[in-house]
């Protein structure tokens, strides 16, 4: 019985060492980090689907799960938008370009955009929830012809809290995407809408037939926006969202992120509302 050493390259716990190429301060609490694997050969092999997540780690501090919010077509880097909240995210916020981090990706499932061919899609992003929305939206916009009418409703607390300021102009002028921006409360020289996302959504009143709703944001926002979508006639199986959960292994073994029999990190984080209704109510 020879000593077994794990030659298997595919050790799901072993992060790829990557370098931070660029740090973009999106808002007082959100920064986006563009990273690229050091190992070029691994970088070439690396592919992912929109909506998949990755475990970004600062060595010595820990790992945390973030959606890869660049579309798969972008090959120079992958981007993670991180809101400062706890120990790991604060350590990430201290990173400078040139620092080394660990990346374990891709993990989890992705947005089932193949099934949306020919349908209208309503994207609704709340605060940091805009990160997963951005991934799938950019991917869908690249193949806009395959889909129907695309519209985005992006809400944040205040103008400073609005992320992706660099992309907003492009989204506003884009001919394939009808964009509406809103903030919770009145703010000086703010040209767009003011109001909570559910109320603005009801005003926009997108039609439910042949339409998919993609909805991400903090739990309280999802609760009311979901009700709004149902009021507008959207069926549960056409409403897609991503779940937030405490995660550690990210590969469905450590048992932490279970919702009933499903593991959010493996069977999710993307779920349709219909799937969620099947699972035990333990949000």
């Amino acid at each position: 019985m020879s000593e077994h050493t794990c030659g298997c390259s595919k050790n799901p716990y072993l992060p790829e060492v990557a370098t931070v190429l660029e740090v973009i301060t999106e808002s007082p609490t959100i920064k986006s980090f563009r990273v690229r694997f050091d190992n070029e050969e691994a970088w070439e092999r690396f592919t992912y689907r929109p909506g998949q997540v990755g475990q970004l780690s600062v060595f010595g501090v820990g790992e945390s799960t973030f959606v890869i919010n660049t579309p798969p077509s972008c090959r120079e880097y992958i981007q993670f938008s991180v809101m400062r909240a706890g120990e790991v995210t604060s350590a990430i916020h201290k990173l400078h370009p040139g620092d080394q981090v660990g990346v374990r990706a891709p993990l989890g499932n992705s947005f089932p955009c193949e099934q949306w061919k020919g349908k209208n899609i309503v994207f609704v992003g709340g605060g940091i929830g805009m990160a997963p929305i951005r991934t799938i939206m950019l991917h869908v916009m690249e193949h806009a012809s395959d889909y129907g009418k695309l519209s985005l409703l992006y809400g944040a607390k205040s103008p400073e809290d609005m992320a992706y300021k660099a992309d907003l102009p492009a989204w506003l002028e884009s001919d394939v995407l009808h964009t509406t921006l809103t903030i919770d409360r009145e703010a000086p020289n703010w040209p767009h809408r003011v109001g909570m996302i559910p109320t603005v959504l009801k005003e926009l009143a997108p039609s439910p037939d042949n339409s998919i709703a993609v909805l991400c944001g903090p739990p309280i926002m999802i609760k009311f926006t979901l009700a709004a979508f149902r009021e507008l006639g959207f069926k549960d199986e056409n409403i897609v969202t991503t779940l937030e959960r405490r995660m550690k292994c990210g590969i469905g073994i450590c048992g932490r992120c279970n919702l009933g029999g499903k593991y959010v990190c493996l069977d999710g984080p993307v779920f349709t509302q219909a799937q969620l209704n099947e699972l035990p109510p333990e949000m």
Binding site: H4, N11, V17, G102, P218, P219, G255, R256, L266, P280
Partner: protein, 393 residues
């Protein structure tokens, strides 16, 4: 290909001592009132003799394949001479396992490994550390000579002489032990052991197994357990009532041979540090506490609901109906408030014939007796209304 061999206690001890020279031999050892698995050297084994080793262990042998704490990743960095801010980090994969013989565990422990194999090895991602140790470990199980009052392996589809998960199953008979070689690994282990043929003792073995099995109290029918316990999920009053006495200490999860949960934490610094995997318990609120302060399971009744549902409903739903509990009873023996999972399962199933989760009696909004709740800074978790849709089975 079950071939029976016979070995006298002395022969078995000598054989074990021989194995100890080449590989790690884990045997149950008495330390104070508790029995734990410890590696023993050849001299210690021959001095102790096999009969002294045949004790029921207090904690499970899960340690053999999933240590309480191990290093998943070791990272080191080297500073660039010219530009010390430039650091090149290298990551190592210290995944190695020493060949091990786990001697003297019981059928429920062995089946515990089979239960752990499903999430650790048969999912889309294989766990290399667990896999390496699992492969390097040969399991020599003793068929239970007697049963404990807290044993209920027969509730969960097993029995005191179940060979599932074992490489060799030996049974104590008149004058020695009959070894039933079940797998290739088992066969490799007894190579050159020159044990006598034991096929003539087959009836004695069967008789011994039958006698032990009869000592077990009759088991309820748990075939419907998964659906019924899933239906019980929304009955918060039930879970609150059942967990009044629970201290939410988590001792049950640390003793359990099938608890798979662990946490990952980093120690040290980027220059020189390691990422640790260590056992974790779903019974502590920190298990699901999110950084925002929101906690889907803040109260012990929700945590116990998750623990029981995982073993008897979620796991079966995910892995073709197999329970993740092997009925060893350790959580019942060592619970400080003698909370009995058997009672919880049977009570949860009562009156749930044909019920679906939605139709479970909508319990009055029972004020959950739970520890001073950390004020959820995040807005209250949205309670998605129980849908009328029936649960697909």
């Amino acid at each position: 290909m079950s071939s029976l061999l016979f070995a006298t206690p002395a022969e078995l001890t000598a054989w074990l001592a021989g194995l100890a020279s080449g590989q790690r031999v884990l045997v149950p050892c008495q330390e104070g009132p508790s029995v734990v698995y410890r590696p023993r050297t050849a001299e210690q084994l021959s001095a102790a003799g096999v009969n002294a080793l045949l004790r029921r262990s207090t904690s499970s042998p899960k340690q053999a394949v999933l240590p309480q704490c191990e290093t998943l990743v070791a990272f080191k960095s080297v500073k660039d001479e010219q530009d010390p801010s430039k650091v090149t980090t290298t990551v190592e994969n210290p995944c190695k396992a020493e060949p091990t013989v786990l001697f003297g565990c019981r059928p429920c422990d062995a089946r515990g490994f089979v239960v752990l194999d499903r999430p650790y090895l048969h999912g889309p991602f294989k766990d290399p550390y667990y896999g390496a140790r699992r492969e390097a470990t040969t399991i020599v199980t003793q068929a239970c000579p007697s049963v404990f009052a807290t044993c209920f392996c027969h509730w969960v589809g097993s029995h005191p002489a179940d060979g599932e998960g074992s490489d060799i199953l030996f049974t104590a008979v008149e004058g020695g032990f009959v070894l039933d070689i079940l797998t290739e690994k088992g066969k490799a282990l007894v190579e050159g052991a020159a044990f006598a043929d034991g096929s003539d003792k087959a009836e004695a073995v069967a008789a011994a197994h039958k006698a032990t099995a009869e000592a077990l109290a009759p088991a309820p029918n748990l075939s419907e357990a998964a659906a019924k316990i899933a239906a019980r999920f929304t009955d918060t009053a039930f879970w609150t009532r059942e967990t009044v006495k629970c201290l939410s200490c988590g001792a049950c999860t640390y003793l359990c041979p099938t608890c798979q949960c662990f946490t990952i934490t980093d120690e040290g610094s980027q220059l020189n540090g390691r990422r640790l995997r260590s056992w974790d318990s779903c019974m502590t609120p920190l298990f699901t506490l999110e950084t925002s302060g929101h906690n889907p399971r803040p109260d012990k009744s929700q945590r116990m609901r998750n623990r029981v549902s995982h073993k008897f409903s979620f796991y079966p739903e995910r892995y073709d109906g197999f329970f993740s509990c092997v009925g060893c009873g350790r959580c019942v023996i060592s619970c400080p408030v003698s909370l009995d999972i058997r009672h919880m399962v049977t009570a949860a199933m009562e009156g749930m014939e044909g019920k679906k989760p939605a139709e479970a009696p909508a319990a009055p909004a029972e004020k959950t007796a739970e520890t001073p709740k950390a004020p959820a800074d995040a807005p209250a978790a949205p309670k998605t209304p129980a849908k009328s849709k029936s649960k697909k089975r």
